[in-house]
Point group: C2
Chain length 484, copies 2
């Protein structure tokens, strides 16, 4: 049985036991119980704790071996490290296949005793035929099954899967990406990687049919050669986006104490990523922007953009940032200019790409008309729509333009097969803005646009950067040269 | 009388007439009337329109010369370009000193006739001793007097002043920066710069005592030599942040049709900015981040940061991005480590800079204690506080940590004289989040922290970049070498 299939089966348990389940709301043992109940775990859920009889309405068993079920697929260990060796013995009796060690304070402490204990745990697990996820990690978020490692993660599924060496990073990534409309196949937090490691996880996600895009946060790899081999296979099948943590001087020192990893030189990572077509991002925001791009944009290999919307300053700076990311702005076609002239002889010779929407004020031309006409242009690859509010209008008009007309037009363009990138700047709003119709309208419009399957970014520069990396990847896949 | 004083007097009118005031809510003539009423303009406001008798409750005069006041300081022209020459004649009879031409479609059309008319307007104004702001611009936002060029701009005043060649850009800048806590002395939108231009405005803001930080959006300059002279004077007195629009190939073509400017080579601009200590930013978000930095951070010339808060992945990536922007992370002092050891012998040897807050879970140490202890450290220059929500807690605890303890600690550090940079990721929230206690708590906490005068940024990388440019500027001011 291949490793990949094996991990896939391990990540789909039909029964889960939380050992160290607890009544203390600040404990992992309480929180994991809540996560699985709240996310509607599909299988059987058992709780183990010698001192409680009921937690969150569920019966609690004093010991794993007391659970009447003879096959427990998956155990989440929330007990202190000292108890894990004897827990493994119990697991073996119940035919447990995978133990997730939320349990921490092992090798990442940098101390001899703890490092030794981690080794003993691994050795014993191997002997008993049990796989270990962690220690020092959050485990599995698999919305299809209702497995979760955090509050309020989406219950719907989607195409993004991945593996994160940081549990906090994994949770934050899922929650903030979810606000952008991204949904997930499964996300695995794997911590110290004592057994299940980055290479096995990468191979698994490469073969996982539920995952179309792989996102990852890695601090270090155990076996560079094997990882690169896995990467070479993965990037040919689907985009792989990696946030490498511990790139600097401090990070190299720190990686050991966070997840017991050797960080490796950032230059080596960069060179490998370029050669094998993996997409390297620098921070969590870029990671999220990149999964937004791959979730909502098709494979694009062209770099010609038409930028529409926003006033003169906005369109000017948009043109700058898209050009600086390697895109071109072709001239509008003669046919389009003729159409504009027919509609408004006053401004036709003056409308250019990027299209300054403020020119249309007081004319019989609307940016909506124009967006529809653009859909017939063929000498461009991407429409960039700046859905700006730099000229705030009265409520009725503004809501109409934002929510209805604009949406209609961009959807029309998309039907012609042209990818659309929308920019909506949501701003750092406060309580007062949360009460205002305008910010509510922005939020609602954004949701509607995302629901139509369009890519939405919060600023032109973030949109341009994520789109560049997407185009670079698909170009690399076609040519198999070095990734730009 | 110096140009600077002259502009200062012109920007402080005690009477304003809006010519072309209108009942049509989509017209500039209506909107400027609304802006001045809504922002509580302190002086006398007159409306002129030959076909209306009352607009928004104010009497309307058929012609400027019919206004009983013999001295009108400032006229906002919302009439078509063809009417401006005869308006100027009327202005002269009323001793008008400054005419703001919201009126557009002149030189920016690129057409001979319109270009000629712009020239005639300027010539006539000069002959009559009237200064022209524009054409094709939004004019003056001066909250102290209640002058405004957009809806819902802050009525409170603040230290940021500046001049913007794009009116839409100016409005968007003010509104989004205001959400970040920035307030303004005055912002001037100057469009085609036919008379009042970037050099005169820069000189004015350099001498303006209400302005501590100058922000600008420029597409092109009329006289490079004079502008550089003005820049050399300005940057010695206060920070000057410039967003140069039209940096790329398209921009160079477009600048002409937007504000009739010659854009100039971006390399020349960069070299000049470096030499004279002006801060060049690439987009509106960076411009806003930079005014946040200069509004809330003192003159810092050191590059040693302590990063606290967030889990392991978050602090790791934070360390990376701060290091990549040229900062260093010093080791925590022996004294601090002793304190930690006394409080918790379990983890003391393991707490490093950046400080992984997740280590404190289940210990008697809190990140709050630690922040207070850090305030006694002396071998660092800036505290970076990641106010993260990557480990969402139950409501009561979470609100307390965010809103009370954290604030108390950062304020304590600030009392010791150490600058604090806070990171709060607000996310692209939707309607559902606007209703949720958690996002409301984040918004409220952010407001409280800003009200305490602390600098808040939405991501580590944006914080690090803006702080780097601030440190570069103050270092340049000390050394007068080239700006880093």
């Amino acid at each position: 049985m291949s490793e990949e299939f094996s991990l896939g089966r391990l990540f789909s348990p039909s029964s889960v036991a939380i050992v160290g389940a607890s009544l203390n709301p600040f404990s992992g043992g309480y929180q994991f119980t809540r996560f699985l109940i709240d996310h509607g775990f599909q299988g059987k859920l058992y709780l183990v704790n010698p001192t409680s009889s009921e937690i969150l309405g569920l019966k609690v068993y004093p010991r794993l071996t007391e659970i009447p079920e003879s096959n427990l697929d998956y155990v989440i260990s929330c007990i202190p490290a000292e108890g894990v060796l004897s827990l493994l013995k119990d697991c073996s009796k119940k035919n447990v296949k995978l133990v997730h060690l939320f349990t921490a304070r092992l090798k990442e402490t940098g101390r001899d005793k703890e490092t030794k204990l981690q080794g003993e745990i691994l050795e014993k697990a191997r002997r008993l035929g049990i796989r270990i996820l962690g220690p020092n990690c959050m485990g599995i978020y698999y919305p299809k099954l209702g497995l979760s490692f955090n509050h309020e993660l989406p219950r719907e599924t989607g195409p993004v899967g991945g593996f994160f060496q940081s549990g906090g990073g994994a949770g934050e990534f899922v929650r903030y990406a979810a606000l952008r409309g991204v949904r997930f196949s499964k996300i695995i937090s794997y911590g110290n990687a004592s057994d299940v490691d980055e290479t096995e996880l990468l191979n698994y996600f490469t073969s996982d049919s539920e995952t179309k895009v792989i996102a990852s946060y890695i601090e270090g790899v155990k076996d560079g050669g094997k990882f690169v081999e896995a990467l070479a296979l993965a990037t040919k099948k689907k985009p792989v986006i990696i946030l490498k943590g511990g790139r600097g001087r401090t990070g190299a020192k720190l990686a050991l104490s966070h997840t017991a990893s050797l960080a490796g030189s950032v230059k080596v990572w960069q060179a490998v990523f370029k050669q094998y077509g993996a997409i390297m991002v620098s921070n969590f925001q870029e990671l999220i922007d990149q999964v937004v791009a791959f979730t909502f944009l098709p494979p694009i290999t062209g770099r010609r953009v038409i930028i529409a919307g926003g006033g003169g300053g906005k369109s000017m700076v948009s043109a700058d940032v898209w050009e600086e990311e390697g895109f071109e702005l072709p001239e509008l076609s003669v046919e389009l200019r003729k159409k504009i002239k027919k509609q408004d002889p006053e401004i036709w010779d003056w409308v250019r790409n990027p299209i300054d929407a403020s020119l249309f004020q007081g004319t019989s031309l609307s940016d909506i008309d124009l967006l529809e006409w653009i859909s017939n242009e063929d000498k461009f690859d991407i429409l960039v729509a700046n859905l700006t509010q730099d000229d705030p209008l009265p409520k009725d008009i503004w809501e109409k333009v934002l929510a209805s007309n604009f949406l209609r037009s961009t959807v029309a363009i998309r039907k012609k097969g042209k990818p659309v990138v929308c920019i909506i700047e949501t701003g750092e709003i406060g309580l007062a803005e949360m009460e205002s119709w305008k910010w509510k309208a922005i939020a609602e419009t954004r949701r509607q646009i995302i629901n139509q399957g369009l890519a939405v970014f919060p600023s032109p520069e973030r949109a341009a950067r994520a789109t560049r990396r997407l185009v670079n990847y698909w170009t690399w896949q076609e040519n198999e040269n070095e990734l730009l």
